[in-house]
Symmetry: C2
Subunit: 433 residues, 2 copies
């Protein structure tokens, strides 16, 4: 059974705090194994990647077949149905349009002293995207990771996707093509992350690695961080729905389950000011769980981590939601804009009953790679910003240096950094001669 809470309960605060701190995922400790794999790939390059792929994916490769050829890609893509192709194309177009608006602006200005200040954004040169194989091989994730990179101007975008027993997902390849991916390698696991980070004879190194993966992939990303950039390490994900009495309980039940069906450690929370709505949604969830295809996953998620919280009013709902800082937040209330204004921490907000979270997973436009496990308190979803970096610019004139240089010299001396001070003083002396 999910947790049922009411803010009127005397022990509500303790119970809600416990809900927040519940550990939902046991990450197996694979760090030593991963360290060995990375060292092996660094030392032996292609040969190590090929051996590990034979071992873990039961697939025999050569340096020439590590990468999908154009002909192979075209042949696989031809298997995709027209309806699926059209849906992916529409999704790609909408995701591209949304992310194009994220491109940050360069700035350069001249201040009163005459100094020019500003900054400039440039893309990462080469990026690698990890795409899981098997069950969790989602073409939508390819679009969500690859399109921001290409919008940012990344010149070389490589995908690694394991194909256990040689099984490739045509939709993943089509998504990669629509997104403009340049290279696709049929490798996975920690060995693929190591190959992207350090390069091999056949796989040039990249500067940044993004994309979801299992415990081995996550551990490998943590280990190569610093050598290359990485995106966030995703934890178990969550949805929080705030509903008032006018909401549709059947719809909300499906929205809660569309989170729960991802993963047994996913969390679905309903907060409502209507006890009747709490009951109706709970009943609707139970009914759906009788027949849902993925009830073996969604059921345990709902029973172990689901929660239904009855509050006095929607202000209280917003305050509790801000404590959760959910990855996905649905506002199924009469005035979602007013409620949204009270939300300070959330990865993505879906406003009103006509905006199921699933729209955001596929086709709305915003990214579906979002901060999980309460990290929306301090981080953002994936965006164009993950594939660009800022170079700050400063250009002094003699006048500007005369205006602000003496203060720099004073501070350098305070910090006992003599050369810092002298580098300013030498120039000031030249001006004052």
């Amino acid at each position: 059974m999910p947790v049922f809470l009411n803010t009127q309960d005397p022990d509500f605060d303790a119970a809600f705090t416990e809900l927040l701190s519940a550990k939902r995922e046991d990450s197996p400790d694979v760090d030593d194994v991963v360290a060995g794999i990375i060292a092996d790939v660094r030392a032996r390059g292609d040969a190590a990647v090929i051996e590990l792929t034979a071992k873990f994916d039961r697939l025999e490769l050569t340096p020439d077949t590590l990468r999908f050829s154009e002909a192979e890609i075209e042949a696989l893509i031809a298997e995709v149905s027209d309806a699926e192709r059209a849906a992916l194309e529409l999704a790609a177009e909408r995701i591209r349009a949304y992310h194009a608006k994220q491109m940050p602006q360069d700035m350069l200005w001249r201040e009163e002293t005459g100094a020019e200040l500003g900054w400039r954004w440039t893309p990462v040169s080469a990026a690698g995207l990890y795409v899981p194989g098997g069950l969790a091989s989602y073409p939508s994730s390819v679009l969500m990771n690859a399109i921001p990179a290409k919008v940012a101007g990344v010149e070389r975008l490589a995908i690694v996707v394991p194909t256990p027993d040689g099984q490739a997902n045509p939709l993943v390849l089509l998504a990669a093509k629509l997104a403009g991916v340049d290279e696709i390698y049929r490798i996975g696991g920690a060995q693929a992350v190591a190959a992207l980070a350090y390069g091999t004879e056949s796989i040039p190194a990249v500067d940044k690695i993004t994309g979801p993966g299992n415990a081995f992939v996550a551990a490998a990303k943590r280990r190569v961080f610093g050598k290359v950039g990485i995106d966030m390490i995703a934890g178990p994900s969550e949805i929080l729905v705030i509903a008032d009495e006018q909401a549709n309980p059947e719809w909300i039940a499906l929205d809660l389950l569309s989170q729960a069906e991802h993963d047994e450690s996913a969390q679905s929370i309903l907060i409502t000011d209507s006890p009747a709505m709490a009951d109706a949604v709970t009943a609707a969830v139970e009914k759906q769980l009788e027949t849902l295809e993925r009830r073996a996953i969604a059921g345990p998620s709902w029973r172990d981590f689901g929660a239904v919280v009855v509050v006095d009013d929607l202000d209280q709902a917003a305050a509790l939601s801000n404590r959760v800082a959910p990855e996905h937040l649905e506002l199924c209330v009469a005035d979602p804009d007013a409620l949204s204004a009270k939300i300070t921490h959330a990865g993505a907000i879906f406003l009103g009953g006509w905006t199921p979270e699933a729209i955001g997973d596929y086709i709305g436009g915003p990214n579906h790679v979002l901060p999980t496990a309460r990290s929306a308190r301090f981080s953002s979803g994936l965006s164009v910003m993950d594939f660009v970096k800022r170079t700050t610019l400063a250009k002094m004139t003699p006048e500007a240096l005369q205006a602000i240089g003496p203060a720099a010299e004073t501070l350098a001396i305070s910090e006992s950094l003599e050369a810092h001070g002298l580098s300013v003083r030498a120039r000031l002396d030249a001006l004052n001669k």
Copy 2:
């Protein structure tokens, strides 16, 4: 002796690649010690922090004296000279003005389907800033970390700064006050990071931790990452100066040394198209090293990691610099703007001979916390962006859902996520009744 290279040398490429991959810092493996300290602080809170501070900083504290009182702060600040106070005030004002321009904009638009899309930025609620004690206790770093946080709108900004044997740096306290810091704790090391991340009876937890520190602090930041956000883990830093024949070799020597004097593992590189300039700068560095206060640090840095590279032309210089992706890049050339346009990877660019890097360390306005160890290939310096996060917004209308909902349903079915599809279908059916 520093490395001398010439692109005309037959083995130049190999030698330059070796320069790029040279390991400049041996990080002691303190991870186990740090794990123990964090566990202790989580379990025993204040008591653990107080014990560890007595042990490492030889300072006896109580829960009441963990934090500096207002009276203590005022008394210490009163020791600061007028010249230093004025310099810090000017620096704070200029850093604030620069960072104010970094505040990102919210966006919200209605597209053809009628759907509203956009995003909104909100500040991190609480941030903690680590300030090293002792030699590397730099008031300038307090300004550079704290001001972007306050510009971003962080409500609660706490500083931790160790005071070994009770010795506090009045300039650090004044910088904290000028930056608007709310709380200052006289603790340091892994125990301070743990206290900020998990909270104790006297120190409320924060959501994000930034600031430099030693190996223990860096290991602690890595370990609490995920529970809270962190900034980059800084590595050994570097300066690269590109100079042509018109540059002033004495000034460049001081600029190279102002990096070298930070740390024995710092790296200073000169790239020039003038062999005469290469010689003149080298001689000037050697001369300064005879008398420089910090020659015991700057000397080894220059001899072990310094490099002088002679190139055919400035295009070649830009290409090599982009391979280095230096933290600091000075362009001491006749047309620095033209050369700057060819730079794709650098933390900060200082244009022209009148812009010594030291200006950027203190008072230029841009941040001096910059990506080190070649990470400017994929990351940016500290900014307001580190203290805000984006919430994406989507609001469908019935018409918008009819336009794009079917494609979402198609993709959900492709990915075998039935509840995702049903959550869209249920709404579409209601519309089509």
